[in-house]
Amino acid sequence: MARRIHGCTVGSGWPAAGLIAMLLILLNGCGERAWNAPYPASEAKSNTLYSSFSERPKHLDPARSYAANEYAFIAQIYEPPLQYHFLKRPYQLVPLAAEKVPEPLFLDQAGNPLPDDAPVADVAFSDYEIHIKPGMRYQPHPALAKDDAGVYRYHQLTEEAVERFNTLADFPHTGTREATAEDFIYQIKRLANPRLHSPIASIMAEYIVGFSEFASELTAAGDNGGFIDLRQYRMAGVTQLDRYRFKVRLRGKYPQFVYWLAMTFFAPMPWEADLFYSQPGLDKRNISLNWYPIGTGPFMLAENNPNLRMVLARNPHFHGEAYPLQGEPEDGENGMLDDAGKALPLIDKAVYSLEQEVIPRWNKFLQGYYDTSGVSSDSFDQAVKFGSGGEANLTDEMLERNIKLATAVETSIFYLGFNMADPVIGGDSEENRYLRQAISIAVNFEEYISIFLNGRGVVAHGPLPLGIFGSREGPEGINPVVFDIEKGKPRRKSLQEARALMAKAGYPNGKSIRTGRPLVLNYESASAGPDSKAQLNWMRKQLKQLGIQLVIRATDYNRFQEKLRKGTGQLFMFGWNADYPDPENFLFLLYGPNGKVEHAGENAVNYDNPEFNALFDQMKNMENSPERQEIIDRMVDILRHDAPWIWGFYPKAFSLYHDWYGNVKPNLMANNTLKYKRIDPATRNARQQAWNPPVVWPLVLLVLVLMASTVPAMLVYRRHERSAAR
């Protein structure tokens, strides 16, 4: 009996450890791949890019998708008429699906052409004629599969027939066809379809002729949930000229329209796909246009499992595109033009794994399992150090691993908004303006950037991020309300000055003259991350310097939004990410008629200054010119004086990448840059093995210790048995 018990002790101890060791060896093969590699050994040498995504996309339908994490996928799949040049700066539009960037033709009310320099008031319509490239074909897709007789195979599916299909890949037959002007028009009609809730429907309705009428016509026709053949309905402003040409007519002058043409909203969509996905039963299996795109681009979605990973693979029918031949002068030195003229895409596959936690993501990057990584603020010190002039450099540890760094100031802004509809903090009264200015001085965003972003941001002096037309760098770009200029550099005004402003505002030492009670302000916050506590504490600390007590009202995002909508908040932090590189896209956030409370617009602080509004109307439709710059300067001065926002910061994107990952140049407007990227899989695999040698001795030690510990136990057992027998 002694044996059996002994066996049992051991059973839970060292064989378990031994078993794990054996399993590990079995799973990893011998020397093929590092043990902790999260990918199969067979993929070790393939021309695949590995990256991660932290939040699963919500919509992959080009008519609905409007978020960066969704563009990461669909911008590689769908091809709108235009794109941003990969290398050239400032950002420049170049053709993608179109043959050339369309020039608007201005018309008067009667439809007669006007010269290009006609006054804005005279322009009643502008026509954009878009020529698309012939020979663009869709990725293989069951919706396009035809049988020998030329009849679509999968357009008459029944619920029973669908039972067999779990993913799109389960359909045995696929087909393709050429994308035509009709498909582009079909997609514009989809934008108007009320059922799809396209986020840009409202703005397009303002400009495209016949857009709203089209939507109401669809609504009137009734919606039974099934397929609606949009080809049956006409949109007045969109006409097909021939197989490869179509025309869009806009109301008035809208120079920003070309920017929209570079977004996936305007990519071609075959009607077959719409019909295919509307068949019964497919929705239940998540087979919908929202999850399975169909595009003409360089890649197609080969594996769609947003719970685990998304895999993009080369589209075999891709019409071909060449790597740009020209770039900025420094691009040649940086090796950005080494692949000039080569056929795109340069990689075969891209694997995006779902990675929600920061720690694993960062560690996997360091171990070489992700080719690129953003830098979270907590791994920052490990990766980046600043030189004596404040420039960012990599640490020795990173350099040792040949890791490289790319930085760029993002075209977005984070700001602290004062609700201008609030009686205490908002409004046009002189006192409240002093109060806002005082707080603007006290909230030290330089410190915020250094603590929470490790310097990955630039303090904002106005609403326009650097690189957007109208923003100014150097001394004239400094906000004189918050900063003094010292040797041409900004220096935040002292707290004394802020306190003086507080006194002028009627709150000496933070106490109201009228009531004698300290000023209490509310700060709305929707943040709920590990970092939020520190951030909220920091914010309180800032206002305390002026004697203001900040009450944090932490809540969830829905509630936060509701407060903005109803205008019941006082202070809040918010941000905006540019849709296109034009100052209009930022200044409209402060345009009175866009007020959130009254007009449900994007002006979250409900700022409404008639002078500013008038200037905005004037500036909005102008071409970039010195006159436009002048108007913008005046607008920015008004804003700085009124201080409806504390101009927070423009975030700086720092991304790290390994040396086997080539052609990295941050491009904040273009989303379809995957096709330019290059991978050297052999180097990668060698590095991964060198960096991740398995350390087995602790395992061995554990086995030994467990074995050794059974000896005294056995001795005691023997003694016990003997004494029991006696």
């Binding site: 009996m1 002694a2 059996r4 018990i5 049992c8 002790t9 059973g11 794990i20 399993l23 590990l24 799973l27 990893n28 043990w35 902790n36 999260p38 199969p40 699963r56 919500k58 919509h59 609905r64 409007y66 059922r195 809730h197 986020p199 840009i200 409202s202 929705d283 239940k284 299996r285 998540n286 929202n290 999850w291 499992n305 719970n307 685990l308 794994s353 779902l354 990675e355 929600q356 936690e357 720690i359 694993p360 560690n363 996997k364 399992y369 709920a528 969830d556 995002y557 829905n558 449900a600 994007e602 991740n692 350390v695 395992l699 136990a713 057992y717 016990h720 048995e721 029991a724 027998a725």
Partner: protein
């Protein structure tokens, strides 16, 4: 026996209705249809008309519980509660904020959850019972006392620490296993070892202590004394008598938790990036996707009730006297 089971199943129905009403009230107070529309439609450029449209399209423009505008039965059936909540009984969970069918996602995500939960349960059971038997064998010696202290120490460490520490040690320092991730098929084993190991180690403290108590209770019974008096060795006594008899509470304890294994472990799954139901729930809570949370509440309740049912049945199977009551 069958009549008994049928009676128990019938008893479950009012409970499920209760759960349903409770969750409906909780979640629709928290999350109005307006909020749902906003979450679904995204953040930028959402107009009030779009929200009204969205609600009308999905039937969220109806009153919550009572529709005074309708006629007859319609007053009750033409409401959000009737249309949305009662569908749960057909396991029709509707769609999430990201327009995915929840039922389909659940059916896909329960397998990874099981792949962690089942090994943790089985291996944990084996390890804990073995240790508990050993401790029971050495009862009232220093080994016993210190083992119990060790168990208490292990119990007192937060589970989060086991996970953070385990990942740091095994993956980052020793390079033995991937830090996180998952794969389909056999390749998943590589990703499962570490979370299973941590799950087992984290459970040793409380598990071993609990089984030790069970064994000690059995050891003090008369039949064990008799067996020992017959001159049987301690090992045989422990194995043949004590373990066999303690198996009844052990197994019924396991049966209760069996159905809940489907729900997965919230923390482990999200730390290790395993696409199971636990991380599904956590994500849903964080993104406030209440359709998913509601579906998971309902699923959890159903599974809990099944667990109770199984326990009752297993009791009657093990001990026929119970059936009489």
């Amino acid at each position: 026996m069958i009549a008994y089971i049928v009676r128990r199943i019938l008893y479950a129905i009012p409970i499920l209705i209760g759960v349903n009403i409770l969750t409906f009230v909780l979640f629709f107070v928290v999350n109005s249809p307006d909020d749902m529309a906003r979450m679904n439609l995204g953040m930028k450029r959402v107009t009030p008309e779009a929200i009204e449209n969205w609600k009308a399209e999905r039937g969220y423009d109806k009153p919550l519980l009572f529709n005074s505008a309708s006629q007859g039965v319609g007053q009750v059936t033409d409401t959000i509660f009737f249309q949305k909540s009662l569908k749960l009984f057909q396991f029709d969970f509707g769609t999430s904020d990201s327009d995915r069918d929840i039922g389909y996602d659940i059916s896909q995500r329960m397998w990874p959850s099981l792949a962690i939960a089942v090994p943790v349960l089985l291996i944990g059971l084996l390890v804990n019972i073995t240790y508990a038997l050993l401790i029971a064998f050495f009862r009232a010696t220093y080994i016993d006392i210190w083992s119990v202290v060790l168990c208490v120490v292990m119990m007192s460490i937060s589970g989060l620490f086991y996970i953070i520490g385990g990942q740091y040690l095994v993956s980052k320092l020793l390079h033995l296993m991937p830090i996180s991730g998952y794969d389909t098929g056999f390749a998943a084993v590589k990703f499962l070892i570490l979370p299973v190991l941590i799950g087992v180690v984290g459970g040793i403290g409380s598990g071993t202590r609990w089984y030790r108590t069970l064994f000690l209770e059995e050891i003090n019974r008369d039949y064990v004394r008799t067996a020992r008096a017959k001159g049987l060795s301690e090992g045989i006594v422990l194995f043949r008598h004590v373990l066999k008899n303690a198996m009844i509470p052990i197994l019924t304890g396991v049966v209760v938790v069996l159905p809940l294994l489907f729900m997965g472990s919230l923390i482990t799954e999200s730390f290790f990036g395993i696409p199971g139901l636990g991380s599904y729930t956590i994500d849903a809570i964080n993104r406030q996707d209440f359709a998913i949370v509601r579906a998971m509440v309902f699923l959890g309740s159903v599974l809990y009730i099944i667990g109770l049912l199984l326990t009752d049945i297993s009791y009657t199977l093990v001990d026929p006297r119970v059936r009489l009551s």
